[in-house]
């Protein structure tokens, strides 16, 4: 209590800087005067009286200091002073400050960006009630495939369970939403009526969907929109409730706006609009009575305190006892509950390993940045040995000096951290763009991001401070103040900054080698032949079914569209397909092998006429699809080489019959064999593949137009848009891109890593050059006198060069050796991103070592040349 009162009082004085110097002076003077008077009365002379008084009083300045300390917080004063001193020092060397800040800003910024993504995908909970109680309700299929789906009747069956506190179902669907006569593509979700109840998601305006909206099929055309969609499309108009919009051409009334930040459970794919499952027919073929199509994901809420495993067992038992309620005979399933509190994200699972590589790389980048700065600080502070020695000699406490050095490092880290914070939204966006197209996260910096950057900056500051503090401990008062003294030519002692420079060289080399390997991998990806021609190919997605086209009219729509686009000047060829090579999402169908009789799932694409011509895929035998492959003609398929070998070894498949998958006994005729195409991944071998003629399947799925431009793809985009507008304005064009972009995004992680490693590699190269220069120049300046004496005694220049150069060269050799070892470790980290180049590629190792050595030698030679020009007379008189 007393201590607290004292602290406040001191804090008050310290902040107001009210120090009452005057009072102190007067009081002490008064005291002395009284003592002097008494001494005089005792018979002393006036002078003696004063002398005795002062002696008895004690060291007056120290006492005054004690009084001042009593009135202030000495630590706070010291810190203020240190910070001010640091800023003065930093202003004096702007180049050092800029380099150090940039280095730390890059290191901290890269980590902040990665943290932002990781936080959004892996750490942040959904903005719902008690997210830890939320589970995905799935079955044992979850062990082998991501997020298995269920049919609507099965959902109705599960929903009646007595174990969980509610089970909701949802399915994502792309919708055409027409607001004020404008049609846009929106990310929709069909949800059960209890979806908002089970999640505990609220609305900001109006009401959320309720079970009453989901009772009668087709009866309640109501919708909830997300708050960001509301802002974008309705300008946050509170009167939105009761307004109607067209969803796939059908009128829906908006009843509410979801709470700010709630965008469904799929992280990175924010939902714009929710409509009840009962309205499913408005967006596609009726699936509500279909027991065979699995399309729904189920979400459940555990009862409070219910362990997940127990609930899963209880649910399995519950369903088994009621299995007879299922409409079609169905075997019992083992139900599995998966935590859903953080939603699901495409950056998890498969992509998570790529994320891990990025995390490792960015952490290394920060370590490198710290070493960079430590190196700069060490070289700089080596020149300050004298200053430190003098300060120690005149009585500065070592702890005080060390605090000063720590302050300096912390200030640098704070500057770097601040710069990183400013860049954070952009760096995170760039990182996300490098990962995958089309993912959207809320990247506005949150409190967690801020806390992360602050903690990281402080840690960085401490890491950077270690080196100069250790270096300052070596300073001895006597040695330092004598200009480093006269040193013999024997082996100079090992210094901290030498080790740092060697470490710096090692890290720079490792980073350069990984960067070079990654750059070669990017080149490898670029040069790999995917089997098709990606240049000048525009992709545009169209979904006529969502604009109300029934399957009988869809083939006509596609035919018209293809005909119209062919006539556009600048269009060389056009076709369409369900899936795009190397893009996410592919389709597999069960085909039975006539050779072995086995049925296996094989990649199958549905493509339009002249598909192979448009993509530049050579037809090796037989023919391409054409307009005659329509709904009324014989079913035809085209296969690739690999499939031909697997199904008809040593035979020409053209003319052979093959049973169509999931179509009873219907067969199709193989009309062509085409070259293999890398559909999934540029790395591996192409897999076996079937192509089916889209116009004969009557499929109503969204399709991607593949348009080959004669010269410039950008030139035809607006004409294509206009043509489709003219055919039917209700069919929106979406995901306009090019095949080249699609191709590039398939190895975005490697490119991104190459950029990161390259930036830091070059920075590290420059900084290690500065480091080598610094230590050599320091060695020269310390031994100026020594060199002068030697030269006066007749030493030759090459001797001088040899003495100083050998040591610096030893540093470089040690650094390079360490760096080569480190590179193998680095290659292990980046290994999964490499392509077309060995992780231990000798040429890369050799060339990067050569570059680094060259830079080091140049950096070495400058101070060495200066050493040989030393004038003996001037040098001996040096200080």
């Amino acid at each position: 209590m007393r201590a607290l009162r004292r602290l406040f009082s001191r804090l008050y004085c310290s902040v107001t800087r009210q120090r009452d110097e005057e009072r102190l002076r007067e009081e002490l003077e008064g005291h002395l005067a009284l003592q002097v008077a008494e001494n005089v009365r005792a018979g002393m002379s006036r002078e003696e009286a004063r002398r005795q008084a002062v002696l008895e009083f004690g060291p007056i300045e120290a006492i005054k200091d004690g009084c001042r300390d009593e009135q202030t917080l000495p630590l706070m004063d010291d810190v203020q002073q240190d910070v001010r001193y640091t800023f003065r020092q930093l202003r004096k060397s702007p180049l050092f400050t800029a380099t150090a800040t940039l280095s730390l800003a890059l290191g901290i910024g890269a980590n902040a960006a990665v943290f932002t993504i990781v936080e959004r995908t892996l750490l942040r909970s959904l903005p719902v009630r008690s997210p830890h109680e939320l589970v995905y309700v799935t079955d044992e299929r979850v062990l082998t495939q991501p997020s298995p789906r269920f049919s609507y009747p099965f959902y109705q069956f599960v929903r009646k369970n007595l174990v969980l506190d509610g089970v909701a179902a949802h399915a994502a669907v792309s919708l055409n939403v027409t607001v004020n006569g404008q049609t846009l593509r929106a990310a929709g979700e069909l949800v059960s009526g209890n979806y908002f109840d089970v999640l505990g998601a609220k609305s900001v305006v109006g009401r959320p969907l309720s079970p009453d909206d989901d009772r009668i099929s087709g009866a309640d055309a109501v919708a909830i929109v997300s708050s960001s969609f509301w802002k974008r499309t309705f300008a946050s108009d509170a009167a939105v409730v009761g307004r109607t919009v067209l969803v796939n051409g059908q009128t829906f009334a908006i009843v509410g706006v979801a709470a700010n930040g709630f965008t469904g459970t799929d992280r990175g794919v924010p939902t714009d609009i929710w409509i009840p499952l009962a309205m499913q027919q408005a967006v596609g073929r009726n699936l509500l009575t279909d027991t065979r199509t699995n399309w729904l994901e189920m979400l459940g809420r555990l009862r409070a305190g219910q362990p997940r495993e127990h609930a899963a067992e209880a649910l399995t038992r519950d369903l088994q006892t009621r299995i007879s309620e299922l409409p079609s005979p169905s075997s019992a399933r083992l139900m599995v509950l998966v935590p859903a509190g953080k939603g699901s994200s495409p950056l998890r699972g498969e992509r998570q390993s790529a994320l891990a590589v990025t995390v490792a790389l960015t952490v290394l980048a920060l370590v490198l940045a710290c070493v960079n700065v430590a190196c700069l600080v060490a070289v700089r502070s080596a020149g300050r040995e004298r200053e430190i020695a003098i300060r120690l000699a005149i009585g500065a406490a070592r702890s005080r000096l060390e605090r000063q050095l720590l302050t300096e490092a912390l200030v640098l880290a704070a500057l770097g951290g601040a710069a990183a914070l400013l860049m954070a939204p952009w760096t995170a966006r760039a990182l996300l763009a490098a990962y995958s197209t089309g993912l959207a996260f809320d990247l506005t910096p949150g409190l967690r991001d801020l806390v992360f950057v602050v903690i990281l900056s402080v840690l960085t500051g401490f890491a950077v401070a270690v080196v100069p503090i250790l270096a300052s401990r070596r300073v001895r008062v006597l040695q330092g103040s004598k200009t480093g003294g006269i040193r013999g030519s024997g082996a100079p002692r090992f210094a901290t900054h030498d080790a740092i420079v060697a470490l710096q060289i090692a890290l720079a080399l490792s980073m350069l080698i990984s960067a070079a390997l990654l750059v070669q991998s990017v080149r490898g990806f670029n040069s790999v032949d995917p089997g098709f021609r990606a240049d000048n190919l525009v992709l545009a997605s169209l979904d006529p079914a969502s604009a109300g086209y029934q399957s009988n009219r869809i083939a006509g729509f596609w035919q018209t569209t293809l005909n119209r686009i062919t006539t556009i000047p600048g269009v060389a060829s056009v076709s369409l397909a369900r899936t795009v090579p190397l893009a996410p999402g592919r389709q597999r169908q069960p085909w039975s092998n006539p050779a072995s009789g086995e049925t296996t799932e094989i990649d199958t694409n549905f493509v339009g006429p002249r598909y192979f011509q448009t993509l530049g895929i050579p037809v090796l035998s037989g023919r391409d699809f054409n307009e005659d492959d329509g709904i009324n003609s014989r079913s035809v398929v085209i296969v690739n080489e690999r499939l031909a070998q697997a199904f008809w070894p040593q035979q020409d498949p053209v003319g052979k019959g093959i049973r169509l998958p999931a179509a009873g006994n219907r067969t199709a005729e193989v009309v062509g064999v085409v070259r293999d195409v890398k559909y999934r991944d540029l790395r591996g071998e192409a897999g076996p593949m079937f192509y089916r003629a889209i116009l004969q399947t009557g499929s109503s799925d969204a399709m991607v137009l593949h348009i080959r431009a004669a010269t410039n793809p950008a030139a035809i985009v607006s004409a294509v848009r206009l043509a489709i507008q003219n055919i039917d304005g209700n069919v929106p064009l979406f995901q306009l891109t090019t095949l080249q972009e699609q191709l590039n995004s398939s190895f975005a992680e490697t490119r991104h890593a190459a950029l990161l490693a390259g930036t830091f590699g070059v920075l590290a190269l420059l900084l290690s050059g500065i480091g080598v220069y610094g230590v050599t120049a320091l060695a020269v300046s310390r031994r100026t006198r020594d060199i002068g004496i030697r030269m006066a005694l007749g030493a030759q220049r090459r001797h001088i060069v040899r003495t100083i150069g050998t040591r610096a060269l030893a540093l470089v050799v040690a650094g390079v050796g360490l760096g080569l070892l480190g590179s193998f470790g680095f290659a292990r980290v980046t290994g999964t991103l490499l392509f077309g180049v060995s992780p231990a590629d000798a040429a890369t190792f050799a060339s990067m070592t050569a570059v680094l050595t060259l830079v080091s030698l140049v950096a070495l030679s400058v101070p060495l040349r200066a050493a040989t020009r030393i004038d003996a007379v001037v040098a001996i008189r040096h200080e």
Binding site: R2, R10, G58, P59, I63, G66, C67, E70
Partner: protein
């Protein structure tokens, strides 16, 4: 080194508080003289060390100070005990007495006691 000084300072603070309690408001010189007198010069403390201590006690709220006239027609700072200081003095006196009593028992200890 430091620890020893702190013990001294604590003792000195107790002396200051007791002197003020007995003699009423005093200025710094007066306090120093009284303490010297009572301790019969056995205490070799610089008079000046009193001042940081006085400031500390004032910051803690145990004493308060005002300007007043001194013997030689100068202004002097007069310190007086506050209610807080009085309580502090009582508490510290008690604990001091308890400590000395305890230590005294140990000093009186003879070999027979431990049998």
């Amino acid at each position: 080194m430091r620890r020893k000084k702190e013990v001294q300072q604590g003792t000195l603070a107790l002396m200051v508080l007791k002197t003020l309690a007995v003699l009423g408001p005093q200025h710094g010189y007066g306090l120093a003289k009284r303490i010297e007198q009572i301790s019969e010069d056995a205490l070799s403390v610089n008079q000046g060390t009193l001042y940081p201590l006085l400031l500390r006690l004032e910051n803690e709220g145990a004493i308060a100070s005002d300007w007043g006239p001194s013997a030689n027609n100068r202004r002097a700072r007069f310190y007086r005990l506050t209610a807080v200081g009085r309580r502090q003095l009582q508490a510290e006196t008690r604990s001091w007495q308890e400590t000395t009593a305890l230590i005294a028992r140990f000093f009186d200890m003879t070999a027979e006691d431990s049998r």
